[in-house]
Amino acid sequence: MKPAPRRSSQLEPGREAGLVRAAQGGDQAAFTEIVRHFQRPVYRVAYALTRNASDADDLAQETFVRAYQAIGRFRAGEPLYPWLARIAVNLTYSLFRQRKRRPETSIEPLVEAGRQWAADDDPAERAAESEQHERLAAAFAELSHEHQAVLTLRVVEDLSYDDIARTLGVPAGTVMSRLSRARAELRARLQARSGEGP
């Protein structure tokens, strides 16, 4: 139950623990280095859950502010990123509760993707990909917050089951079953959108 992460969000263990201890001792430079190292993954989690650049920016910054406040209680030596991701996920849940609505699907990724696509791409193929992204984003937005979080941490962040369990505060076995249900739910919603049977 230890899938190899496709993307590393961790520093070397000794260096990470040293930075944490220095930050706990009040070293501002150490905390700044922690922010610089983890700013992209934290932003990715925030954006994947909100699909809104402004919300993601605000949530990512607030995640590090909360981490600064609470780093004195963090146990040096444990992986830091699951702890940061947990703060980000909880802040996102709080944002959802405040707004009392599910986040709307943003067109920003499509705009961003449109910029990246070269002018020599086939327009028909580009339109098909755009439509697929749109359907996928809409189906993902219909999932429960728990399923969105577990899919984001696994598919976008490539976290191991153990790290996902640490982030969400659930057993590793729960992560496996929750991921399976989230994928099945996403497939069913995509089929419903494309008019196919279950």
Binding site: K2, A56, Y68, Q69, P109, H133, M176, A184
Partner: protein
């Protein structure tokens, strides 16, 4: 051949299957094109989802990100990070934790709730305790005739109770000192333990009038006391008031002299109720005005046999207005107004469903036939039960809880045996009905509704005309709604 489950495919795509489970899944994939296609579809969907959910705002954005975080921290005025304290966390840290604060709050709520329940339960238990004390007191207060020396029956003092034909009241102990036989059980019953625990206890003490020459026998002990007057403890363990060196002698308060019968033509003033209900300023002024207004000259005379009372006439009589014959709504014929003194009380929360504005909006004034002292003419045991019921009624009127009204009604039900067939039966049944109805009104339930309905119907079956009957009818109608 069983295909791979969703969970197996999901775990296989994540590389989370290990050992024999992984080997078995791979063997199945080699032989099953459908599962291979499903797994490939899953992996492709994951990649597409990652592409959809990812967003890179650019290097410029992240170059200034740490600075923005630092600015936000400074703007919030946050202190520097504190190192973890593995041992000996301070109490302040413990209280800063939100979950622990919530736990403390929950515990505090439970403790407070338990305290309230205990207080209420204790209040409800009081009647049983009081009854035991009162019964023991009753056993001491009814010595057989002839009266022993020092005991003077109250009937000899020319009390008006004599003229009303009430049963002979309990004798008053004048000076059974030094400790006579009947007093020792009294002390054992807890009525003279050195501290006056209640108003009734004080009254019980006040009934014992010490014979002045008998005070301070040789074996008495001086007891240090925080009382307003000095006491000595006698052989029976009672605290006996003694005179101070400056000649001051404590005199227990004497009962107010009974009002003499009104002479013809002389105005008679309505007595104020002894157990006053909490009133608003407006109602208090109203009640004072009503209570101070003179009654007709014939007030207090026996009810005429020409007919029963009429509520309107009674109300007018109580307000001092002219009493005219009115038609009885039920009995037929002309009736005259009730001529007994009436204490006017209002039932909290009760409003007449009739006219709007004026007095009706504030609730009708109830004619309680007889003041709380009306039960003083009863024999000792029912009188004690009635006093207890009156006290519980006062408690219920004060706290307004349904349980308190239940207790009051139950206490009045105990009184009914002692007043059955007498002039106070109707009043007692009204108090039962009122208590049951108020309990139902405060917290309606099927049981309370049944009890209130039965009590109201029982009262109405024999109730004379008057405001109480009118109120009971209104309550019964409301109950049926």
């Amino acid at each position: 051949m069983s295909h791979l489950t969703d969970e197996q495919r999901s775990a296989l795509a994540d590389g989370a299957l290990e050992g024999s489970a992984r080997a078995a899944a791979e063997r199945h994939l080699e032989a099953c094109a459908g599962c291979r296609a499903a797994l490939a579809e899953l992996v492709a969907r994951d990649r597409a989802l990652a592409s959809t959910l990812e967003h890179d705002p650019g290097d410029d954005y992240f170059a200034s990100f740490a600075g923005r975080v630092g600015g936000r921290i400074r703007a919030a005025g946050l202190a520097g990070a504190q190192a973890r304290e593995p041992e000996g966390r301070s109490l302040a840290d413990w209280f800063r934790a939100p979950r622990k604060l919530a736990l403390v709050g929950a515990v505090a709520t439970v403790v407070a709730g338990a305290g309230i329940v205990m207080l209420v339960t204790r209040e409800m238990r009081v009647p049983a305790l009081r009854e035991q004390e009162l019964e023991s007191r009753v056993a001491q207060e009814a010595p057989p005739a002839p009266s022993p020396p020092g005991i003077q029956p109250e009937s000899q003092s020319g009390s008006p109770r004599e003229t009303r034909g009430a049963p002979p009241p309990a004798a008053k102990l004048v000076a059974p000192l030094p400790a006579a036989e009947p007093v020792a059980p009294l002390a054992a019953a807890g009525l003279a333990k050195g501290t006056a625990r209640s108003r009734d206890d004080s009254r019980a003490k006040a009934d014992i009038v010490p014979r002045e020459p008998a005070i301070a026998p040789a074996r008495e002990l001086r007891v240090p006391s925080n009382r307003a007057y000095e006491v000595r403890r006698n052989e029976a363990g009672e605290d006996v008031p003694v005179g101070k060196p400056d000649g001051f002698v404590y005199r227990p308060p004497q009962a107010a002299p009974a009002p003499r019968p009104a002479a013809p033509g002389e105005p008679v003033y309505a007595q104020k109720p002894r157990y006053a209900m909490p009133l608003t300023a407006e109602k208090r002024a109203d009640a004072l005005r009503d209570g101070a207004r003179p009654l007709p000259a014939d007030a207090g005379a026996p009810v005429s046999s020409a007919g029963q009372d009429a509520p309107a006439a009674s109300a007018k009589a109580a307000r001092g207005e002219e009493s005219k014959p009115v038609a009885a709504p039920l009995g037929g014929g002309e009736v005259t107004a009730r001529k007994e003194l009436a204490a006017r009380v209002r039932v909290p929360g009760f409003t007449d469903g009739g006219s709007r504005g004026g007095r009706a909006d504030r609730g009708p004034a109830l004619q309680v036939r007889g003041t709380p002292e009306a039960f003083d003419g009863l024999p000792a045991q029912p009188r004690a039960l009635a006093k207890n019921a009156q006290r519980l009624t006062t408690v219920a009127e004060t706290i307004g809880l349904a349980a308190a009204w239940d207790s009051a009604a139950t206490a009045w039900e105990r009184v009914i045996e002692g007043v059955q067939g007498g002039p106070l039966e109707s009043e007692t049944r009204f108090q039962i009905a009122r208590g049951r109805f108020m309990a139902w009104q405060r917290a309606a339930s099927g049981k309370r509704g049944t009890q209130a309905g039965q009590a109201l119907r029982t009262f109405l079956a024999h109730a004379p005309l008057g405001a109480e009957r009118d109120s009971a009818q209104v309550w019964l109608a409301r109950l049926k709604q």
